[in-house]
Amino acid sequence: MTTATVPAHGTQGVGEPLAQPGRPRPRGSFATAIRDALHRPAILIALGWVVLVVVSSVLAGVLAPHDPLAQDLDNRLAGPSATYWLGTDELGRDLLSRILHGGGVLLLAALIPVVVAYLLGVPIGMFVGYVGGRADALADFVVNVLFAIPALVVVLAVSVVTDNNLPFMTVVFGVIVSGGIFRLVRASTQASRDLLYVDAARVSGVSRWTILLRHILPNVLGPLIVQGFLLYSGAFLFLTSLSFLGLGFDPQQPSWGQLVFDASAHLDDDPWLMVPIGLVLIATVAALNYLGNSLLATLPTARRARLLTPPRRPVLPPEAAAGTVPEGRRTPAAAEPADTDVPLVVEDLVVSFRTPEGGWQPVVDGVSFAVHRGETLCLVGESGCGKTMTALATLGLLPEGGAAAGSVRLAGRELLDLSEREMAQVRGSQIALISQEPMGALDPCFSVRSQLGDVVKLHRGGSRAEVRRRVHELLRLVGIPNAESVAKSFPHQLSGGMAQRVCIALALAGEPSVLVADEPTTALDPTIQAEILDLLRSLQETLGLALVLVTHDLGVVADIGDVAAVMYAGQVVELAPVDELLAAPRHPYSQGLLDAMPEDAVRGVPLPTVAGMVPLPKDWPGWCRFAARCPLAVDACREGPVPLLAVQADRTSRCIRTDELARSQELATTGVTP
């Protein structure tokens, strides 16, 4: 077997509006990004300046109009003139020539620390990151020592010891700053080491150094180049400081720091001296930093959406609010607005996200459903179908860039019209959320008691003792017997199941009538999943909650659901009572999901075994969105959008061939299996 490599391409999340963290990036995109960057004017200016500085320093001997050391005592501290373009210093020496001559050594010497830091940091970081263990601990300690060394002070000491030997001083500086490069390389190596392909390479017996060089180095290269650049600019500034202090550089020859020092002696009688050298220094450092930071920006970072609600809730413009489904094709939810038995009614909900081009891309497209008291409605579908966005829209908690239109009525009150402040009062007290990742859902800096207590206090007030009592009560309500000790814990001390119970307690603290649970068990162990589902069911029964449960798992639906809304590509494709849906689905997608479910319905086993993929919102066709994957598709399916059609009194399906489907099911059950 040759070295197996897992392609890093094509793993981008389906239908996610923003990149997911931790995904390997396709190789070569760093180079592409750099090529793109080269077309931006600011980059070209910065690059141009750096090149200009370097070239004019190299050619200083030719370009300088005067000898930088030649004194013209009659023209001391003279302003700019035809002879002396930038004026002269206290000894009548030409400022321009001194500036031209004063940068070369600095720019060159600043390379030394970078090289030293690379030579030390890269190999040691790679080795230590790869082997780990004791070597790692030792290297870490050494780096800690380096980080405790005040660089300038030590270099001062080195200067006295080595009699102002600049190369030596820069080498020492390089050693001191190598810790940063080391940590970077070590971290990347550790990360790459765990990637699949390195393991595969290791198994196939490739030597350790080959692995490091061939597989890990390319991954670190981008950040490393960026870091080197920033390090160079730092070293340059450091060396000008030294030159300012009169260290390391030949006092007879001009150098930029020393020019500032000379100028600072004449602040009161010739402040002009400060100006040219200051501008040169600032422009050079700014250009270097800007280039470094632009390089940094080319590196792939996991940019995640902000979850803090904006002070004003975004409103979809009318043309986007209609979604893509033509008017009059929708089915209204079958409930009276003020019906107290139907606390949550969602009608024609459209959720769109701002595109980089400035338009709006719908991800939820005209979804309607209603949830009764004491009922569990499941939103089912593969990821990328818009289930989670539908759920979040009901609470007004869409991520940054998202906006909703249509209607979400809670106990008859239209939520989409509320201001953020009014909405904040509804959240928690009338409708609450349980999210997917219980560990991340709790603020790591605060104890369970503090977080739960805050919410209790917010909703019902009371003395400290009362709040405390209520916190313990809530914790016991969600099945935590040792409420006292759990209340004292911090989130990182809790197990996943325990954390999810705490999250449920948080959601219940304001005594809401509607609970929205977004994949509440997906992140948990199968045994814990069952416990949490049981808890949710019993809570729902005792508290009479309306529960909206988002899941991709038909096992969960079978277990806890009363009504299921199967979602596909931003739309509800089938809405049916759960037992009827499971017995006889009336949409080919539901059928596909069901077929993919293992016979003995093990919960927690994902079901993406329907052939093909959910189309991205931008690829939604103008006809049945499932057509590309549908075994029953005919030409008629591709003639226009398919509306939700009633198949029975309480069932609807977005399919024109439900009869065909029913017939094929009948054939299958009458036992005429081939």
Partner: protein
Amino acid sequence: MTRFVLRRLAVAVPLLLIVAAISFFLVQLVPGSPAAAILGNTATQEQVDTLEQSLGLDQPVLSQFGQWLGHALQGNLGASYTTGQSVSDALAQSVAPTLSLAILSTLLTLVVGLVLGMAAAVRGGRTDRLVQWTGSLGMAIPNFWLAALLIFVFAIKLSLFPAIGYAELGTDGIGPWISHLVLPIIALSAVNLGQIAFQARAAFTDALSRDYVRTLHATGVPRRRVLYKHVLRNASVPVVQVTGLTFIFTLGGVVVLELIFTLPGMGNLMLRSVQNHDFSVVQGGVLYFSLVVVLVNLVIDVATAALDPRVRVR
């Protein structure tokens, strides 16, 4: 928490020992004898020998180190080769301006940097660009040049602050003390401010995208409380940590600025000793500066542990 502090101390002690060893052996690298360097080219071999003897430089290196360390632990860093003054006394006298400058500047950059970073991350758009541009500019201005500019504008032209010198907090009172420090602090803080603001911006952006923000919102906690109580606390942890890392560069800046503002601090003492080849003071100075770094990092470790319970177990 107590255990955490003890554990950190346990790491700090060997760290200090190693730094002490480095600062001692650094001087041993001097080509030839320090005595010769002190006395200059004109000294005779005899003079050099006598000086070596009186300085104890004729003994084996390791026993010199043992002696020096033993004395150092008692707070005795020997006598200055040039002035004969006790090194620890000289350092103790000059520690106040240095620490005032370094610590005030660090606190200032931390607070202002957090505010700027938060504004940039939360408000985005124009605020974000403004913060990024000012931050980049601040990072590009060499502190010594900025210092000269500040002296020119605020001391020479406007006479708002003294250009140079230092006033003791104890004897001269807080007014003169602060007014002598204002310009140095601004000059010192500009570079770090940009850096901290960028770090804070990244930290806030990260904290704002965490799931707990959504959980808090979903339970009805209002936006402001989510931001000022939860996001702020989470985001300040990495920012405080970075402040610790940049502190060593802050100290470097202090040395430079002490020279311009003629502050009678450890930086100036070091610079003078470097020029006079006064090895014992240089040695003691490196040790003192490192001590400051280690102590500041200890404080920062404790601060982050107080902010974030997860740090306590590490």
